[in-house]
């Protein structure tokens, strides 16, 4: 059966107004469409192309969302390590639930939060394959905390790609375990109050205390230089697995303009100026 990539209508309308939604009406692709692709290709060196590990499917993510960048980085790393034909990915429940429509590697869906357990099962049966999970903050740091902590503590040879956008995106912008104090979400309409709603959970720090975790770094995709750093971190995380050293994770701070009710520009600024106060970008553990 051929699966169609069906996307539910987003529950939150796109922001409108000054400086917002740029690029939505006028796609740069439309502007340049008269140029025939492949024309004069023998004279020009191809320096940028779709990674082999990404299918030719258009992303469904909102404008300004970090997922598509992170997908691309993960795919580039898989390509560069030459592991596409022995990689098995485990996408989450959440915005990236349809990640299997984009990654051109074997993918098995996990119940919400259970990716680390599913990945453990796969990796233990196929120890020479590369197994990664791709999870959001709600998936990995709320409902899946136990599975994640224990997979890290057992030192499972898996790599977790943890996309932290401080909000439940797919369900429409509710408070996440990583929502920062004062942040407005649909379930904290007056902002997160730590006394009432708890504090943001620093999962990376938590996992760093586990003896089985080898490499944990927090990065972001808010600026080009951070994007390059994220790719480097992802590559190292996969390498840790290839070297059979233990559990590795990259926590990536990622903008969610739709649920933050910001423009993409405001959102990346918020990552840099506000989110990083609670989630500083750094190597949290490296015993590789």
């Amino acid at each position: 059966m051929k699966a169609k990539c069906e996307v539910p209508p987003h529950p939150v309308p796109l922001p409108q107004g000054e400086g917002r939604g740029e690029g939505i009406q006028k796609s740069p692709l439309q502007k340049h469409s008269p140029v025939k692709i492949g024309e004069g290709v023998d004279q020009v060196k191809k320096i940028f192309t779709r990674p082999e590990s990404l299918k030719e499917t258009q992303f469904h993510y909102c404008p300004g969302c970090g997922h598509s960048i992170i997908h691309r980085l993960v795919a580039e790393v898989i390509d560069e390590l030459g592991i596409r034909d022995r990689t098995i990915g485990v996408p989450p429940a959440g915005c990236a639930v349809l990640a299997y429509n984009y990654f051109d590697v074997d993918m098995v869906e996990a119940p919400h939060g259970r990716a680390a357990a599913v990945a453990t099962g796969v990796k233990r049966i196929l120890p020479d394959r590369v197994v990664f999970t791709y999870q959001g903050d709600g998936d990995i740091a709320a409902i899946g905390t136990a599975e994640t902590v224990h997979a890290a503590n057992r030192g499972e040879r898996i790599t977790a790609v943890f996309v932290n956008n401080a909000v439940y995106g797919m369900t429409g912008g509710q408070m996440a375990p990583t929502t920062i104090p004062g942040q407005v979400t649909t379930t904290t309409p007056g902002g997160r109050v730590p006394l009432r709603d708890g504090n943001p959970l620093d999962l990376s720090q938590m996992l760093a205390t586990a003896a089985g975790s080898v490499y944990i770094e927090r990065t972001s995709v808010s600026r080009p230089k951070f994007i390059l750093k994220t790719k480097k971190a992802l590559k190292k995380a996969f390498q840790v697995q290839l070297d059979d050293l233990g559990f590795s994770m990259v926590e990536i701070l990622s903008p969610c303009p739709t649920n933050w009710k910001m423009s993409p520009v405001e959102a990346v600024k918020w990552v840099d100026e506000t989110m990083t106060q609670y989630f500083p970008l750094k190597v949290i553990k490296d015993v590789a």
């Binding site: 098995v108 357990a117 599913v118």
Partner: protein
């Protein structure tokens, strides 16, 4: 077949699973089934490539089963009632993703934390879904040590054949009781059919996805009907039962698992008194073996359902009988194990009632229970 050995039920299950080439076990401790993971852990330690993980929870263990199954393993998990409740999420996913797995439930008293005594309170949970969504789980109900060995192998074969989770439903008593068992020879792994859907990396083939998410209702409907057709095939091909002294019987006792063994003792005792009573023992609970029971209901005066619960399989018996004969019920929930003498008294009570008022006297099924308990 090897020589007969004396083993407890949980150990029989572990040994039979290993001989069925289950090399992957994921579990979490809970009484009364701990001897199973302990047996498997000890045996796996001597094997190459076998995987035993004591997980952090039942949730994690069933999800590790999902991962192992999708990677091609014959994977198993086991638990007892409260733990099986936690596993229901994963069982629903296994059904939706059409992945084989074997789940063992050694039932204990409930609801809630209940107790650790033998019970049959999880019949509804096991046979009517348990988790969310429109699915079924094959449920095998052994009653004897030998049957535990045979059904464990059958469970792995059925799971692989139909690509669906299979549950072995026992109880705390069955797990502890030691009986002589002869094991079949280990399966030759090369003889197992190749699983085309296994995810092991997209080497020399297009990448594959295993999932249960179908956002388009039209696709989800198609998936549901496909599952339905599979379940219909299982209903045709899998039902099994033991019919004991039913040929000349005026009355049938219906019971499964440990309760059926007690009932059989009761049947022996009333036969000695000259009462023509037989035993109908479903060996598969889903699919429920309805057809032979329906046939019997055309001939016998009444049926007595005996369960270690307040009456769950009773509903499936009634559905099979469709009012053709009287159906009464006797049950002892909460971890109480009846004696054959107790059953003999209940059977006699019901049999005499049938004698005096004829098969058409339809008492409410639990009325006889109250009277029987009083007279006992």
């Amino acid at each position: 077949m090897g020589p007969k050995v004396l083993m407890r039920g949980t150990h029989v299950l572990g040994e039979a699973a290993i001989r069925a080439r289950c090399g992957e076990y994921f579990g979490y401790p809970i009484t009364p089934q701990n001897e199973l993971p302990e047996y498997v852990a000890a045996a796996f330690a001597k094997m190459d490539d076998a995987v035993f993980i004591q997980a952090e929870s039942e949730l994690a263990s069933i999800n590790m089963v999902i991962g192992a199954s999708v990677a091609g393993a014959r994977a198993m998990t086991s638990s007892s009632s409260p733990g099986i409740s936690l596993k229901q999420e994963g069982i629903s996913y296994l059904a939706g993703m059409e992945l084989p797995a074997v789940i063992v439930n050694m039932m204990r008293g409930g609801p809630g934390l209940g107790n650790i005594a033998p019970s049959q309170g999880d019949y509804f949970q096991s046979t009517k879904g348990g988790g969310h969504g429109d699915y079924r789980t094959i449920v095998l109900a052994p009653a004897y040590g030998q049957e535990i060995a045979d059904m464990t192998r059958q469970a792995f074969d059925l799971a692989d054949h139909y690509c669906t989770p299979v549950m072995i439903l026992g109880d705390g008593m069955m797990g502890q009781m030691m009986e002589p068992v002869a094991f079949p020879d280990p399966i030759d792994p090369a003889s197992l059919p190749k699983k085309k859907w296994v995810l092991d990396g997209a080497k020399g083939r297009p990448s594959k996805i295993v999932r249960s998410l179908w956002l388009d209702p039209a696709l989800e409907e198609e998936v549901n009907w496909r599952l339905f057709r599979k379940y219909r095939a299982i209903e045709r091909e899998v039902p099994d039962q033991e019919m004991y002294l039913t040929d000349d019987a005026d009355m049938i006792v219906v019971a499964y698992g440990t309760a059926a063994r007690i009932a059989k003792g009761g049947v022996h005792r009333v036969r000695d008194m000259g009462l023509r009573v037989g035993l109908y023992r479903p060996k598969t609970l889903w699919p429920f073996p309805s057809a032979p029971l329906a046939k019997l209901s055309r001939r016998v005066g009444s049926m007595l359902v005996f369960e270690m619960s307040t009456g769950q399989m009773l509903e499936d018996v009634r559905l099979a009988v469709e009012g053709r004969c009287n159906v009464s019920f006797y049950g002892r929930p909460g971890g109480i194990v009846s004696t054959p003498e107790e059953l003999a008294r209940v059977i006699t009570f019901e049999y005499r009632k049938m004698d005096s008022s004829g098969p058409s006297a339809a008492a409410s099924s639990h009325e006889s229970q109250d009277e029987a308990v009083r007279s006992a």
